[in-house]
Chain length 94, copies 4
């Protein structure tokens, strides 16, 4: 049931407050990032290239994650990994 009539107004306010505070934090961090870009630019770096560097590193990180995932899949397929979902009977007598 949807919380509206009654006492849950305080809870709602609490949720709203928390989230808005966190959004503020996020915004502050974003501004900080911008400052760093400015600083880099002031020191002669090409911001566009800097962004590209970061983007590539991001992709690489993902690749690594995915490849680890694939590795896990392989290992699991070969029965060399204890998988979370189907460990319904392995534990007691492993």
């Amino acid at each position: 049931m949807v919380k509206f009539g009654g006492f849950s107004g305080e809870q709602l306010r609490s949720f709203v407050d928390k989230i808005e505070k966190l959004e503020v934090e996020k915004k502050q961090i974003a501004e900080f990032v911008k400052e760093i870009f400015s600083e880099a630019k002031a020191q002669g770096f090409d911001v566009k290239i800097l962004r590209k560097v970061l983007a590539i590193r991001k992709i690489d990180a993902r690749d690594r994650e995915e490849q680890e995932t694939i590795l896990d899949l392989y290992l699991h397929a070969l029965g060399m990994l204890p998988e979370s979902d189907d460990d319904d009977s392995q534990q007691e007598a492993a």
Copy 2:
């Protein structure tokens, strides 16, 4: 001159490190926000409505800012505000 060939590699690394750390922080906060939404949902709140509430509050906040800004503009246009360096023609009969 663009800093990429040469000794500025350390600076670059420093910028990249800082930014990536901040990005991590942002992501953590975003996850935290999601948790709060989950919590609210678990307590029976309609997340869609909660989002709308937040959106409206955002718009209202911006509206308030804009209203203040335009008030300043009006006052200044009417010569009722001591603006920093805009007294170019007000002194018609000084």
Copy 3:
């Protein structure tokens, strides 16, 4: 199947043409808007203020929309709106 090898070149050309034509129209409109600003300025209006007025009206319009949306959400949440396919509990006493 992705349409790029083969006979669909004409279709592609057609899409590209249509879109580019529309983009041209958009650009023309944008230029027209600029002309109006110029005209206003020439007639003694403070363009900055004019822009702010427009911005505030935009925000207000969006706010109104959001308010209506959330009203619908409220009403619906309270079971006071006949939603299209949300009659999950009406049938108890059919």
Copy 4:
């Protein structure tokens, strides 16, 4: 002088109206463009690629413009073009 007190309210309203109408038109065109993308997608085109095609054509168009500009510069440098800025007195007694 800034138009505020008095009779210029109507003019202001007129400007606002015109601009907002044009903005609406722009938005409609943008929606139309989206529809075309949808249609293309429905017919099996990869929208991402379609966008890339458009982007490249845009760049090419710009390139052409810039190259024409450069060509103009060359021609002018070689004294083969009448330049805009300093043609204030050349025509009558060149």
